[in-house]
């Protein structure tokens, strides 16, 4: 395996086990690794890949596939996706085999209560960092803010917001 592939495998399999509350919570760490530590792409490119993943069907974990692909082609995409899924999936498989025993277990609720605040903080950190990476103009920040407001106050499907923002960009407003 090339150096980049090995690095992708190591980075993303560690992320797999740190990703409590889903992949968005490890977005800041991905950004740190990919942009700051390894310099595989710029912050703006990272934000674009993220936007592409959001606008594409399927689990949003697939941002990882795009990162792997950008770094090392198809092999990179396969390695990164496998690495981010394998450790947590093996753990889930092991736990699923015995999970009936833990039904309603008190420790499960306590662990969840403990992890939720950290998860929320990580998600907001991800939003903050991706906003700084994506927006380079007042109009950009305005679109981000408007999206937040619309999502919080209506039940409109997010895809419409991405489409509307794309049109605003196309019209040269961003």
């Amino acid at each position: 395996m090339s150096e980049a592939l090995t690095q992708l495998a190591i980075d993303f399999s560690l992320l797999s086990l740190f990703a409590f509350g889903g992949v968005i919570t490890v977005l800041p760490e991905m950004h740190r690794n990919v942009v700051e530590v390894h310099g595989w792409m710029s912050g703006a490119e990272f934000a674009q890949l993220f936007a592409l993943a959001q606008a594409s069907p399927g689990p949003n974990i697939l941002i990882v596939s795009l990162i792997g692909w950008k770094v090392a082609g198809l092999a990179g995409a396969v390695v990164a996706t496998g690495a981010v899924c394998a450790p947590s999936s093996l753990l889930t498989y092991a736990v699923s085999r015995v999970w009936q025993r833990f039904r309603g277990a008190r420790w499960r609720k306590v662990v969840e209560d403990g992890l939720v605040p950290v998860t929320v903080g990580l998600m907001l950190a991800g939003g903050y960092l991706i906003t700084l990476a994506a927006d380079h103009s007042v109009a950009g920040f305005a679109i981000t803010a408007a999206t937040v407001a619309v999502v919080l106050t209506t039940r409109i499907h997010p895809l419409w917001l991405l489409a509307a923002a794309g049109l605003l960009g196309l019209a040269g407003w961003v």
Binding site: A55, S88, T92, P117, V118, I143
Partner: protein, 183 residues
């Protein structure tokens, strides 16, 4: 694990097929589609069983929806079922996203495309901020525990600490606080 529906337990092929459908249905979040398929359409799980499986998948690390596929696959067909559901969920969206990535590399430099993507990136960032705010508002974030949310934001977004280092300290501390509060 007990095989609860031996008569109606889906085959590995069926798991693959249904999770493929789930995988390509959702934009920016597939879990609602998984729930619809598992509980309402196929009735492989009851509402309660789904909620239980979901909370398990959220407590375990890793992408929740991938955990859900593995969990459901394991429940009905063991390791084979887990692999079938996993592959079903990811294969088609993986191919689609790489195709989009290739198109983007080819045409992303075009002024029109890059202009559109400046807008889309801005909105995509807003979706994440909103999701975080929604969780903060809804998920029993009682005031003393909110300290850990603040610590996570400051530590990761502002101080840019490595996640592993941060979690090794913050996760046990936060769980310990939850235990202490629960007594």
């Amino acid at each position: 694990m007990t095989e609860k529906h031996p008569a109606s337990a889906p085959s590995a092929g069926e798991l693959f097929l249904r999770f493929t459908q789930v995988g390509v249905s959702g934009f920016g979040g597939v879990m609602p589609w998984a729930r619809r398929m598992l509980v309402e359409e196929r009735r492989w799980l009851s509402d309660e069983e789904f909620s239980e499986a979901l909370s398990l998948c959220q407590v375990l690390p890793g992408p929740n929806i991938v955990n859900m596929a593995v969990c459901v696959g394991t429940r009905f067909r063991g390791a084979r079922g887990a692999m079938a559901a996993f592959a079903g969920l990811l294969c088609a969206p993986f191919a689609i996203i790489l195709a989009l990535g290739a198109l983007f590399t080819q045409y992303g430099e075009l002024p029109a495309i890059s202009a559109a993507f400046r807008g889309i990136s801005a909105a995509a960032a807003g979706l994440i901020v909103a999701m975080g705010l929604k969780m903060a508002a809804s998920r029993r974030l009682r005031s003393p525990m909110a300290v850990f949310a603040l610590a996570a934001f400051v530590g990761i977004a502002l101080a840019r600490l490595p996640l592993g280092v941060f979690l090794l300290v913050a996760a046990p501390a936060s769980v310990a606080a939850a235990v202490w509060r629960g007594r």
